[in-house]
Amino acid sequence: MNRLLKNLLAAGCLLGGTTLGFSQTKSENPGAELTVSYLRGTQKLHDLQASPMMYFTDYNGINLDYKRMKGRNRWEFGSEAKTGSMIAPALGTREFQFEEGGEGFLLIPTQYFGEIRAGYQRGLIQNEKQETYLGVNLRNQIHYADGLAMNTWAMNLLGLGVRYTHLLKLGTKHQILGDFQLPIFAFVARMPFSNVVSQPETSQFKSFMSGSTFTSVNQFQQPEIRIAYRYRLARRSSLELGYSYDWLHYSKPQTIKKSNHELGLSWVYHFQFSPAK
């Protein structure tokens, strides 16, 4: 009898705790979330300013993202850093020498790239099944590689674009997220037609950036889509698996086309809870 009472008490506590936990999940919304992601992707680059051949970069990276949600408003600030080796599949691995009879070296450039971003979105639909948001995103992406065709290769893209996000809620633990963004205006800095950046009494970075040109979506296209699945592990944390694809096209001083396929595994920390309305 004593044992039955104990079991009943334990089951009751468990049920109560679960109910409490469930009700907390339902009745509280996180006001902010911090996301840490591991990124793994492939970049395909065809930049005629650098080479007539395509270069593939299998890269690893990390992403840090902070999101603040209040009512219909969402603010987001994030940054990414990635790196990988660039290989031209049609050329294979090439060994050069500085001079005949000299020591050989493999020409495998390493690319470093990353971004910082800030965005604002306003909720269009917010109910128990789905949420949709529309807003703007300001993003700066920088790329640098030393040794691409034995040259320094660099590109900086500062873009202001529209961003649409669609969130499907499948119960309390599962979410599907779709995201689309498109820069409308951009400042683009690329290596000049001569492939030389040299100005007296000016750093090369400053000279390079001073060559930025303003452009818009009719000349510069970089759409990006992302889909992700999120699983709520606990009140304060979720796990997310996402896939994103972006494609870039710009024609000055010579045509560049670039695409990225990227997988991201993220841990999301939810905080600043407030009661649901």
Binding site: K44, L45, H46, A50, S51, P52, M53, M54, A88, A90, L91, G92, R94, E95, F96, Q97, E99, E100, G104, L107, A149, M150, N151, P192, F193, S194, N195, V196, S198, Q199, P200, E201, T202, Y245, W247, P253, T255, K257, K258, S259, H261
Partner: protein, 348 residues
């Protein structure tokens, strides 16, 4: 049923989308053929679009195409193609144009003139210095300075100008502070094969008394013939602690590229006299281009002139007094250019 149709449609669109973005040719464009004819056309047109010195060298590149396009065919071996390209690029006679073919069978071709090695030996000079300070590896210093034995004449040597400008700002200031007590100086630029033109500007500015234009540069900015950027003006910018006492600058055919833009700048300083041989004669920056077959070629995309608009590409800068060392003299322990520099300074 409606839900099933919706789901199927979405899945189909997703699969089609994935197929679309996976198609490299559609999303990224086509790569050129890697055969000899295609590679020849790519090499020729890359020079046609980007090379900055056709006007200076008075070379008709279309004529070169007419001559060499008949000699190329897709049955050529890699070595035959390399020889043909080398012959074509030799028409440019440009020390900044070179081409390399990767291993196996690495080959390098240099378009510019070649001059005898061994006309300068730093170790020979080090024997005659009473005090010596150096930065970098002891046997191959980046910067070396000291004083000639039994004189009050200083000596300053730079291996190259390839470090960032801040390096030279620090080390030249340090060197000139140490040499401030000397009456005259020999600046040896015979080892400077190249580097950064901004570094050259800084070093030369440490010998300047006034701000002066010494060089104008411009770069190709489109494939259209003669379409260059605006002139970029390079001026001496005097520094505190500048050395304004008499200086003899030693140059030779090993003084190239940024070593030559440095010499251009030093020519504007009235306290500087230049002794030695002509400089190499290759001023412009020379970025590299990749050919479809994986070879790499370097070319001059700029047009560098002195303050009056004169180009010395392919010619080199003439010293105030020509004294040409031979390798035999140097190997026997005689540096006639240095001896002449010291006698000029001792006559002051």
């Amino acid at each position: 049923m409606k839900q099933l149709i919706k789901t199927s449609l979405f899945a189909s669109l997703f699969v089609c989308g994935l197929g679309l973005v996976s198609c490299n040719e559609l999303m990224l464009g086509e790569e050129p053929s890697q055969g000899p004819v295609s590679t020849f056309e790519y090499l020729w047109s890359t020079f046609d679009d980007h090379y900055g010195l056709f006007e200076v060298k008075q070379l008709d590149w279309d004529e070169v195409h007419a001559e060499f396009s008949t000699k190329v065919n897709d049955q050529m071996s890699a070595d035959e193609l390399f020889d043909l390209f080398s012959e074509m690029l030799s028409r440019l006679n440009d020390g900044h144009v070179w081409m390399v073919k990767p291993n196996p069978g690495f080959r390098r071709f240099d378009s510019g003139p070649s001059f005898p090695d061994g006309t300068f030996d730093l170790d020979l000079i080090r024997e005659s210095l009473s005090e010596e300070t150096s930065f970098g590896p002891a046997d191959n210093p980046l910067v070396l300075f000291g004083k000639f034995k039994n004189t009050n004449i200083g000596y300053l040597y730079l291996d190259h100008l390839g470090q960032a400008p801040g390096f030279y700002e620090d080390h030249i200031r340090t060197a000139l502070a140490a040499l401030a007590g000397t009456d005259e100086l020999v600046f040896d630029a015979r080892g400077i094969e190249g580097g950064d033109d901004r570094s050259a500007q800084i070093v030369a500015s440490y010998f300047a008394e006034e701000r002066k234009l010494y060089m104008k540069t411009r770069f190709k900015q489109s494939a259209n013939p003669g379409d260059f950027s605006d002139w970029i003006l390079w001026q001496l910018a005097p520094r505190s602690g500048a050395y304004t006492k008499p200086v003899v600058l030693l140059t030779d055919r090993g003084t190239g590229s940024a070593g030559e833009t440095f010499t251009l700048a030093m020519r504007q300083n009235e306290n500087v006299e230049i002794v030695g041989d002509f400089t190499f004669g290759a001023f412009s920056d020379n970025p590299k281009w990749e050919l479809p077959n994986g070879w790499i070629v370097a070319m001059s995309t700029g047009d560098f002139r002195d303050q009056s608009g004169i180009s010395y590409e392919g010619i080199g800068l003439e010293p105030d007094e020509v004294v040409i060392n031979t390798p035999e003299e140097v190997s026997n322990g005689t540096d006639r250019a240095l001896i002449r520099a010291l006698s000029i300074l001792l006559e002051n």
